[in-house]
Each structure stands twice: as C-alpha cells, then as structure tokens.
C-alpha cells in the first residue's frame, strides 16, 4: 500500500500523535519530535516491514500504539519488531484517545491545517463544532474527522449523512445494511435528504423495509428515481408516512400509487412528478380525508398523463395552494387542465412556468 502523503496530527487535548500514510521508502525522513507526546500511533497498513526499525522515537513517554483496525498485520511476524513496542494485540488506548486519519489528505486543505495547529488548550465544543461545520461539503475531510474521537462523531455525522443516495450497484442497499444493522443508532436518523435510484432494487430485497424506512425519520427531501424498473413497479407502502417532517417529494417514472404516498405526508410542500406510467385503473387505496399543505412548488412533467394527474390533485380535500407551478403539456386537452390548475392556485401563485410542446396551432 503506497501513500503519497503522510500526515501528522497532534491534539493536545488527547495528548498523543498519530502518523498515517507513512510513505514507502521514507522511514527515516519524518522529521518530527515526539518528545512531548504520550502516545504515538502508527497506521499499520502503511508500515512496510523493513521500515519499522528505522523509526527512532524513543522519547515517547507512553510507548507506541499500532493501529490494527484496518487490516491484519502479516508483516509483524516477519519484521524485526522492536521489543519495547507493544504487540498489535497488546494493550490499546481507549478508543476516544486514538487518533486515526486517512492518508492522501492535501496539506493545503483546511482540515490539514487544523491538524497541525498548535492548540494551547482544549477548544470549547461549540468552537469545534463550528470548525467541523466549515467542512460541510468536504466528505473526505469529514470522514477523517469522524475517526478522530468519539466526541467528534455526532457533528461530523450530521454533515456526512445529511444526504444519502442509493445508486446501485455503486451505493447499494446491502452495503448500507451491513454498515448500519442496528436501526436504533443508525446514521439514517441524521439524513435530511434521501435519494433512491432504481427503487425496485430495494423493495425486492425481501428485507423488512418498514423498520428500515422508519430510521429516516428526519428526512425532509425525498427523491425516487425510476420507481418502475424492468417492468417491475416498486411497492411504495414501506415509505408511507415514514418521515413526518417530509417537505419535498420528487418521483420519476412511477405509478399512480404515488398519490396515496403523497397524502401520507401532512407537511409536504413541494411536489415533482416526472413521467408517470399510464394509469392502469388504480383507485385511491383510501380516499384522502386530509391532504398535505402543498404550499410550495409543483413540477409536472408528465406529458401524456396530465389529465390523470390533475384528476387526482382535484381530489385533495384541502385544495391546492402552490406558490410555484412548472408544467409541461403536449396535447390540446392538457392545455385546458393547465388553465384549470392555474385557476385553482391563482390566489397563492407567485411563479408560473408553462411549457407547451404542441406541434401545431390549436387556436
């Protein structure tokens, strides 16, 4: 395993240093004094056997800790292992005192600068949170921060899992379940935005999805891309009302069951429906007695099915109160529905975007 960078982290508050990403062939080139540190932690996967004895860090008060969590150390038995080094299976530091860091981090990155900052005292948690917040769009740095200390985990997870996307096979449902088998402390609780591409790949796994979806109880934005795939229509039932906080829903290539789903989110404001499958005679699972707020935006790009969509929307007992409407239609009949929709929302309408793809004049 070759790394192009190494990084050194010293955090006075936990009084130890971590060396990760030790560059191959540079065993003696690390010019760092370990005098003041209680522990030194080396990342085992980066230590190639021959380099281990080259490191001279005899002044470390507490000895060394070998980080063995990343892999088993086959090089240990074959290397001239220093006798005074604790064995990989030996005593370990409390987890919160072990600093782990990913390799390959750019030193110019704010996170790298944070690491080499010589702090003279422990930072108040609010300040630490504010620093982590600056990395909200830097997933690599956030992952690194998440491994620093237990106390760093909640804040980094807040940003790391704010948007979760399942895009099989790259980001599959199975790998998520393996990573987070316990629903009670699942990072899904931190998600505000959930995107699932090819929904049937999840709904057909045979897993109890109701328990799984309930972990996403703070999701405010939901996006299902291709709810019908290879002629299989996903069962949306596990998602009914799964997040009471849901404000925004976007569905592409779905069935008309989506309207039952819509009615299960009382706070829903924004709705986008793209490419609905032609209506197959399905009726309301349960006629809605109360409908969502629907005070935000409506985006309809359904071309052939506008008449069916609007008929369902008219059924909402609380009416429609959209502030923004964007819609497209391609046949003359849909034009009448578009005008009707605009009329129904005229008292709240702030933005209107009408796209007509009519091929010829109909006036």
């Amino acid at each position: 395993m070759g790394y192009h960078h190494f990084c050194v982290c010293y955090l006075p508050c936990i009084n130890h240093i971590c060396v990760f990403g030790w560059p191959k062939g540079h065993g003696t080139s690390l010019n760092v004094s370990f005098h003041d540190f209680r522990y030194v932690c080396f990342s085992l996967p980066t230590l190639q056997g021959a380099e281990i004895p080259l490191m001279t860090t005899t002044n470390c008060a507490g000895g060394y800790l070998l980080q063995t969590s990343e892999c088993t150390p086959p090089s240990v038995s074959s290397s001239p292992w220093p006798q005074h080094w604790p064995s990989p299976s030996g005593p370990s530091l409390p987890r919160e005192r072990v600093v782990c860091w990913e390799s390959g981090v750019d030193f110019d990155h704010p996170a790298a600068r944070l690491r080499v900052t010589t702090m003279s005292c422990s930072l108040p948690p609010e300040i630490l949170d504010a620093i982590i917040d600056q990395l909200y769009d830097e997933p690599t740095s956030l992952k690194a921060c998440c491994l620093v200390s237990k106390s760093w985990i909640p804040r980094t997870q807040k940003h790391l899992f704010v948007h979760i996307e399942f895009d099989p096979p790259k980001h599959s449902f199975g790998s998520w379940m393996r990573m987070s088998p316990d629903p009670s402390n699942s990072p899904a609780h931190r998600a505000h935005s959930l995107t699932i591409l090819y929904l049937p790949t999840i709904t057909f796994t045979g897993t109890d999805l109701c328990g799984w979806t309930s972990t996403f109880d703070n999701v405010t934005h939901l996006h299902f891309e291709r709810c019908i795939w290879t002629s299989h229509s996903a069962d949306l039932t596990p998602f009914f009302g799964f997040s009471p906080a849901l404000r925004s829903l976007r569905m592409t290539y779905t069935s008309f069951e989506v309207f039952d789903l819509i009615c299960s989110f009382p706070l829903l404001e924004d709705l986008a429906l793209v490419d609905l499958r032609p209506e197959d005679g399905t009726v309301w699972r349960r006629a809605p007695s109360i409908s969502p707020k629907l005070t935000g935006s409506l985006d309809l790009d359904t071309t052939r099915e506008l008449h069916s969509v609007t008929r369902r929307l008219w059924d909402f007992p609380n009416g429609l109160h959209f502030a923004k409407i964007a819609m497209s239609f391609g046949i003359g009949q849909d034009f009448l529905l578009a005008t009707d929709l605009v009329s129904r929302c005229s008292s709240t309408l702030e933005s209107l975007n009408i796209r007509s793809s009519l091929k010829s004049a109909f006036f």
């Binding site: 502030a323 003359g332 009949q333 034009f335 009448l336 578009a338 005008t339 605009v342 009329s343 005229s346 008292s347 709240t348 309408l349 702030e350 933005s351 209107l352 975007n353 009408i354 796209r355 007509s356 793809s357 009519l358 091929k359 010829s360 004049a361 109909f362 006036f363």
Partner: protein
Amino acid sequence: MDVATFRGRFPDLSKAAKLKDLMFLSRACNIHWIVAALKNVEYKNLRQLTIRLETADEPEETDDEDWQDLDRLLVQFWTSYSIRPQLGYAPDSKGRERVRLPDLLPELTKRELVDLVEYSHPA
C-alpha cells in the same frame, strides 16, 4: 375535442395577485395563447417575464396580428410597469434565429426594451 373548445381558453392570471415570475415556453405557432394570458395578467407584483420560443426547422404559420399584440403588450409592460421582458430563442443549425424577432416585434426591438437570450434547442 375540436379547435373551438380551446378558443378563448387560456390561463386566467387575473386573480394571481402575488405573481412575480412568469415564463412561457411554446412553439411560435401558439403565440396566441401567450398573448391571451398576458392580456389579463395581474401585474402588481410581477417582476420577471420570460418567453421562450421553440420553432421547427420549417417556417411556421403564425398570425401577424398576434405578434403585433405581443409587441404592443410588451412595450406597455415596460412603460407602465417597468417590466423588461426576456425573449429566448433557439438558433438553427447555422446559428441564425429561426424567428425573426426584430421583424415580428419591431417596436420592442427598436426601443431596445427586451433582452434577447439565445438558448439551446431541446432535442
């Protein structure tokens, strides 16, 4: 549904008092319904008006009277309500305007009261 059914039907924007942003995207041949909608728009809060015209490769039949109405309406929008419209058009494969806006909207273009924006024609 025959053509007569559509005649006289257009989005009724007279009650949309909060309307700030209005955008139409249509074939040039259907400019009539845009004009009809604009004639009764509630302008009190209107800030942005955008019209994008899609056109076919072959010349489309349009009614000159509709274009004259549109020209007059858009000039009025500027003089009365300070609303500067934005007109989008998709050039043809040689980069020329398919719709000759200076010809169709002479007053608006002569007084430079419109922002002409070129955009990619959807596939």
